[in-house]
């Protein structure tokens, strides 16, 4: 057993799928000769050649467009956004071409668009965003956000094999901070749309995803140690499809729900979770559903500001205590 980082898990998922399936290829900026801004695709150009590891111009719309076309032909392209923030210039292509293709024409666009998201790395307003809410209201898309190395590998493998367009949000703060034992070459497939209980508990349900799973974990440990209450943490893994069944099952047991995400609050994805739970578990709720999120501002650069902007472990602790005391 070797320790695999979150970043290596992403690399391994791509490399192993490329070895298994000739139709898998990658395209993006600086991924070939340079090996990727975070060196995720280091060595890929040598191993797979320039027709499967394609250095493109700085053209996110054209990158996603080419991926769609190749997918129409039965290929399984992975389009890398150097930072997920740069998905914005490809917004039209994703929302209007990729997402609607199958519905309109019967021909799907089974592509993966992946890139580093999230804050905490002091990267300022344009290299730290979480973009899931931009796409949440777009039928036809799927979205995943792994928190662990195994899930990073398993969700990416599943995303590559999925016949629909999948946005894969990898959290840059976790790249080298999270490690797990994964057998080299071990095939892991985490089905899209299945949440994971990250920590079982009885008193309060926390629904979250991405890097916030770990802050929620810290908070749960503190509340358990200091107050003796047990928080259940559900790591969504998939944002769409949403495993509402698992959430509702948990909320019906605990009677309390806290939704945590790193994106700002207003218009964030917590709203959808709240609405669905309200619809399906209203009678079981012993307290209002509450949210812990980033503040409603852009992501600031200075560490003093970014720390204040981001949801912190203490926020989750405070929210949990408030809910438990309700």
């Amino acid at each position: 057993m070797s320790e695999t980082t979150y970043l290596e898990a992403i690399r391994d998922a791509m490399r192993e799928e490329m070895q298994r399936d000739e139709s898998v290829f990658i395209l993006g900026e600086d991924i070939g000769l340079y090996g990727g801004a975070f060196k995720i695709t280091e060595g890929f150009l040598d191993e797979f050649g320039p027709d499967r590891v394609i250095d493109t111009p700085i053209s996110e719309a054209a990158i996603v467009g080419a991926a769609i076309g190749a997918a129409h032909m039965g290929m399984r392209p992975i389009a890398e956004m150097q930072f997920i923030d740069f998905i914005a210039p490809a917004f039209d292509m994703i929302v209007n071409f990729a997402a609607k293709s199958r519905y309109r024409t019967g021909i799907g666009a089974g592509i993966v668009i992946r890139g580093p998201c999230g804050g905490g790395a002091r990267s300022g307003p344009f290299h730290s965003q979480n973009v899931e809410s931009f796409f949440a209201n777009v039928p036809g898309l799927k979205m995943v956000a792994p928190a662990t190395a195994r899930d990073a590998k398993g969700l990416l493998t599943a995303a590559i094999r999925d016949p629909d367009p999948v946005l894969y949000f990898e959290h840059k703060f976790l790249y080298r901070r999270i490690k797990e034992s994964i057998e080299p070459g071990e095939e892991i497939v985490v089905p899209l749309g299945e949440a994971r209980i990250h920590r079982p508990g009885t008193d309060l349900t926390i629904v979250t995803y991405g890097a916030m799973v770990w802050k929620a974990g810290e908070a749960a440990d503190r509340v358990s140690a200091e107050d003796g209450s047990e928080l259940e943490i559900i790591d969504l893994r998939s944002i769409r499809p949403l495993d509402i069944g698992s959430i509702v099952e948990s909320v019906r047991r605990t009677g309390r729900l806290l939704v945590v995400h790193e994106a700002p609050k207003f218009g964030g994805f917590a709203g959808e979770i709240t609405a669905q739970v309200c619809e399906e578990a209203f009678e079981w709720l012993d307290a209002p559903i509450r949210r812990v999120t980033a503040m409603d501002t852009p992501v600031p650069y200075a560490p003093t500001l970014e720390d204040r902007y981001l949801p912190q472990t203490e926020d989750i602790v405070a929210a949990a205590r408030w809910l438990l005391a309700y």
Binding site: S59, E60, A62, R104, T105, P139
Partner: protein, 343 residues
């Protein structure tokens, strides 16, 4: 000009495609006025030669992505005219099953990639198809079209640049028809010679009279052959004119009538008829016979289509995802209604 490969059957077929394009659109206009077409209707009047001539240079297995004004190219690729009627009238049997309109369909068997409304996107997607040809080592070619207005979109630029950077087997036809919706192209750009735009990508370019079918065909053949033999993408600038309004609702009153007169004299169908007659490919009677034949086919097609059903309402929620279990359920409010009826 090297047209040695075109034989009598080709000349007849080309003529047929030209008149089919025009006459089918005339039928669509009628259907529109009769209320059978509820969405936008776009014509290619005056530009038929560009679409037909370029598409005729392709082979089986190639792919083509038309703009809204390239209906003729679709018939050349084998689209049955009735499919177009179904599509515009939102029939269940239409290529999009009623879910989208105009020529927004993708039909892999015919090598057709439909556009979507946001301009420029389709070129980028077609790049991916031609990339796959190259990855698989197949000598297949892609062709697409772009209005000069659309060429101003950022997405189109990225598509051109990507085709060039990856050296893809692509032929891009820039249709300079003087107008983009209600704006003349000189007003929305400072470009004088649209062939210069290829320079931004380092691509070879050739300008043609887009209303001269054989000239268009010849340029397309050259570009297609170059692309097929690994010579990379090429651009064709077709100088032509949009003889109708942007869409059915557009009265075109902003267009100077002299301009229309000038271009009417260069009508691509009339010009091709003169070639056919002068070079002895067809007699007047032969021309009329083809036109009649098309007319009858269209009459039958229209009758058939109008008797066909629209898509059933239930199908509105299907085909969002590959796995039907991931498609949305009926809204809860309608399930309620059904439940209470059941009770």
């Amino acid at each position: 000009m090297n047209l040695s490969t075109l034989v009598r059957e080709d000349m007849h077929a080309l003529y047929r495609f030209l008149v089919l394009t025009r006459m089918l659109e005339e039928r669509l206009e009628t259907l529109f006025k009769q209320g059978h077409i509820v969405g936008g209707l776009y014509r290619s009047l005056g530009q038929e030669a560009t679409a037909v001539g370029t598409a005729y240079a392709l082979q089986d297995g190639d792919w083509l992505a038309p703009s809204i004004r390239d209906a003729g190219a679709l018939y050349v690729r084998g689209l049955p005219p009735i499919a177009m009627l179904r599509q515009y009238t939102a029939r269940e049997a239409s290529p999009c099953a009623g879910k989208d309109n105009t020529n927004h369909f993708t039909i892999p068997e015919l090598g057709l990639l439909g556009p979507i409304s946001p301009l420029g996107t389709q070129l980028c997607v077609l790049n991916g198809i031609s990339l796959t040809f190259r990855q698989r080592g197949e000598p297949r070619v892609c062709m697409t079209y772009q209005g000069e207005g659309a060429s101003r979109t950022g997405t189109s630029h990225e598509g051109f640049a990507m085709a060039a950077a990856l050296d893809l087997p692509m032929v891009i036809v820039l249709e300079h028809n003087r107008w983009s919706f209600g704006t003349p192209s000189y007003r929305a750009s400072a470009v004088e010679d649209w062939a210069d735009t290829a320079g931004a990508y380092g691509l070879p370019v050739r300008s043609v009279d887009g209303n001269d079918l054989l000239q268009v065909y010849e340029a397309a053949r050259e570009a297609v052959e170059r692309a097929r033999s690994g010579g990379g993408p090429g651009v064709i600038v077709a100088e032509t004119y949009r003889m109708s309004g942007h869409a059915q609702h557009d009265s075109q009153k902003y267009i100077p009538s002299e301009e229309l007169d000038e271009w009417r004299a260069r009508d691509p169908i009339g010009r091709f008829e003169r070639v056919l007659l002068e070079d002895g490919w067809l007699s007047d009677a032969g021309l009329a016979e083809i036109r009649d034949d098309v007319d009858q086919e269209l009459t039958r097609a229209v009758d058939t289509v109008l008797s066909e059903p629209h898509p059933p309402a239930e199908s509105s929620r299907t085909r969002v995802y590959a796995d039907p279990r991931q498609d949305p359920p009926e809204p809860w409010t309608r399930t309620l209604a059904t439940e209470s009826e059941a009770r």
